[in-house]
């Protein structure tokens, strides 16, 4: 190879080729994906997150929870995602159109969180999640810096965690979640994909993969 300009052009063409194919191609298909209006339920999905939940997503991002948790449910028959109750149906592109920073995740050191607030039969509630964040469980560390261990001044706070055993606060002190913890929990409780789209419905047992 002796022509320098040809090499330069070749490099540009090589990069442009894959960029055009993958980035432009998928952009053309998915950039303007609209929400889906469900006649039966009378509303459009996905639902937009509330302001507190949007702030919570920033906390999720800054603590990099995606290092251990995914937010994508695979189809039945492709892994045990649905058997574990993580979702009724496969996650599709439309689920993420209102997320400012999509955190699909690359590792499952902890469970998938796509449909955390929609889990059946019982989804965790705010108190469960705050307690889990404070105490940690298994491989999940205790995020004690998201909480404030402070002296009770006057009345105990309504928001204080009710803990037992060795996690209980010392007498005269209480454990109160910081606004970041509350925002994070609000975000986690907004993760609900218990609705369907035409391109993704809960597959009945008879319609397992392989049929057209």
């Amino acid at each position: 190879m002796k022509n320098g300009s040809l090499l330069f052009l070749g490099l540009f063409a090589a990069l442009g080729f894959s960029w055009a194919g993958i980035v432009l191609g998928s952009n053309a298909q998915l950039a303007t994906l609209p929400a889906y209006y469900d006649q039966g339920q009378g509303q459009a999905f996905p639902r937009r997150p509330s302001g507190v939940a949007a702030r919570g997503q920033l906390v999720y991002q800054d603590l990099n929870c995606a290092a251990c948790h995914t937010q994508q449910v695979r189809r039945p028959g492709f892994g045990s995602d649905q058997a574990r109750g993580w979702g009724d149906r496969q996650s599709v592109a439309r689920d993420y159109i209102y997320q400012t920073a999509v955190q699909l995740g690359e590792f499952r050191i902890g469970p998938d969180l796509t449909n955390l607030a929609g889990r059946k039969p019982t989804a965790p509630d705010a108190v469960d999640l705050l307690t889990l964040l404070y105490s940690g469980q298994g491989a999940m560390p205790a995020y004690s810096f998201l909480f404030e261990n402070r002296k009770i001044s006057g009345q105990p706070s309504d928001h204080a965690l009710r803990l037992t055993g060795r996690l209980k606060a010392a007498p005269g002190r209480e454990i109160v979640p910081t606004p970041r913890a509350e925002a994070l929990v609000a975000y986690l409780l907004s993760l609900n994909t218990s609705f369907d789209y035409p391109e993704s419905i809960p597959a009945p047992a008879a319609q397992a993969e392989g049929s057209k």
Partner: protein, 464 residues
């Protein structure tokens, strides 16, 4: 052309090194500092996996941030600095001229390191972007781009002003790395950080970015060094050299398309992962051609060639493992597990880093004008690197297989999964400690080699 030139002097000195010495030594020195930083962070993150209470109360080192810090320091600190330094050196030598614009390189190197530091401080403070391989906050990224341009100027000049028009394989890879990084990085910045694309397109663009960064920038950085050192040390031509350009263009044209490998089964249309699987298979031809060309590294002796041989084996094995685990039937079990991490370590550390180590061992005596200071530290680094890498990749692969088997069984809770992977992750931590110790030996050896040279030069100046 003339018949074979006489064997060069032991140090193979050329005049090339005089102007370029200081900035290149600075680049290599800072790369080793970053290697130690990232090694320490990797050790912390690794310990947290089996002892979650380690640094749990400290928001700076919470696992998510430690992981992001470690990756950023490794890629943008160690690989970038060392790769750039060595690529500039190779282009200077093969171009046959003194490295011009060396001051630009020095200034660029300083600002690159400032940028990486700013990025790491930003991640620790909580501004991470949570985009794998691009975690540093947006405010640090343009600085890196500008610094890169400044460093690369002398390399581009050395290439454009080369004495011989016909380029050698090492030059193709070196030039590719120089030009492709700013393009890939700026596209990634614009489409992911400044004017982010919507929804799941972020994951697709990030996948393209991460794979392009690996195949179009990091792999060429390692291969440029290998393609130069192997024929230099063995004294023979590369056996399959007529295929080398096919291998080069194959990597460049096909590499970026494999971006969808991590999105198999994910919320993206099926064609994206199908294309990634297909191109991972076609890319095997590149790995075969590299193997055919560089297999002389196994026959030759000497320290540099040992590292390059290991790096070559890991790089080619990594390519085959990538193609195998891209197949959907296997991906369903290895996705989201430690096996993916093992693959990454095999490619980034076992492949590219070991190739860079080999080139470093070859280059530093020629840059400093003296051989390495200590045989013991050199041998220690070799043994510990080999041992540590085999242990690390084996432990992570084992953890991944155990985790994959457990994940596939819906009855098993995550507590069980954690218990099953814990012993493997302990071995991985031991491996990280071994690697850190080995790299510390390299850093000390480097410091002594450079330092002794400076001291000797100062003594000479004082005496004369």
């Amino acid at each position: 052309m003339t018949s074979a030139s006489p064997t060069p002097s032991p140090l193979d000195e050329t005049a090339i090194e005089t102007a370029g010495r200081d900035p290149l030594v600075f680049l290599l020195g800072s790369s080793l500092a970053w290697l130690l930083v990232s090694g320490a962070l990797a050790l912390v993150a690794s310990i947290q996996l089996h002892r979650p209470e380690f640094f749990a109360g400290c928001p700076i080192f919470t696992y998510g941030r430690a992981q992001a810090l470690q990756e950023t320091a490794f890629i943008y600190g160690w690989v970038a600095n060392a790769g750039l330094g060595l690529v500039l050196w190779i282009l200077g030598r093969l171009g046959g001229a003194v490295l011009r614009a060396a001051n630009w390189t020095f200034v660029g190197a300083i600002f690159w390191n400032v940028g990486v530091t700013a990025g790491l401080v930003g991640i620790a403070a909580g501004d991470a972007t949570a985009l794998p391989r691009l975690e540093m906050p947006g405010y640090a990224q343009p600085l890196l781009l500008a610094a890169y341009g400044s460093i690369a100027v002398s390399g581009v000049l050395a290439w454009a002003g080369r004495r011989r028009p016909v380029m050698f394989a090492a030059q193709w890879y070196a030039v590719a790395a120089l030009f492709l990084f700013p393009w890939i990085f700026s596209v990634g910045q614009v489409m992911l950080v400044w004017v982010p694309v919507h929804g799941v397109l972020q994951a697709i663009v990030q996948g393209w970015f991460a794979q392009s960064l690996w195949t179009l920038w990091m792999a060429p950085l390692g291969l440029a060094g290998a393609y130069y050192v192997v024929p230099k040390v063995t004294g023979r031509v590369l056996p399959a050299y007529d295929l080398a350009s096919l291998g080069f263009w194959c990597l460049l044209f096909i590499g970026g398309w494999t971006g969808g490998r991590h999105l198999i089964g994910g919320p993206v249309p099926a064609w994206i992962s199908t294309v990634a699987i297909v191109t991972s298979a076609i890319l095997l031809s590149h790995y075969l051609i590299v193997w055919l060309n560089l297999r002389g590294a196994f026959a030759g002796g000497g320290n540099a060639l040992r590292f390059i041989a290991f790096g070559l084996a890991a790089y080619v094995l990594g390519g085959f493992v990538d193609a195998a685990t891209a197949m959907r039937a296997i991906a369903v079990r290895t996705q989201f597990t430690w096996f993916d991490e093992a693959q990454q370590q095999l490619a980034l550390y076992g492949g590219v880093s070991m190739l860079i180590f080999g080139t470093l061992y070859f280059a530093v005596p020629r840059l400093t004008g003296r051989p390495w200071a200590s045989t013991g530290l050199l041998r220690g680094h070799l043994v510990l690197s080999f041992l540590g890498l085999i242990l690390l990749i084996g432990a992570l692969a084992g953890a991944g297989l155990a985790q994959g088997a457990d994940l596939a069984n819906a009855q098993l809770s995550f507590a069980t999964i954690a218990a099953d992977t814990r012993p493997w992750l302990r071995f991985a931590s031991v491996a990280q400690a071994i690697l850190l110790l080995g790299n510390f030996m390299l850093a000390v050896n480097f410091a002594r080699t450079v330092g002794c040279g400076k001291i000797a030069a100062v003594k000479e100046a004082l005496v004369s």
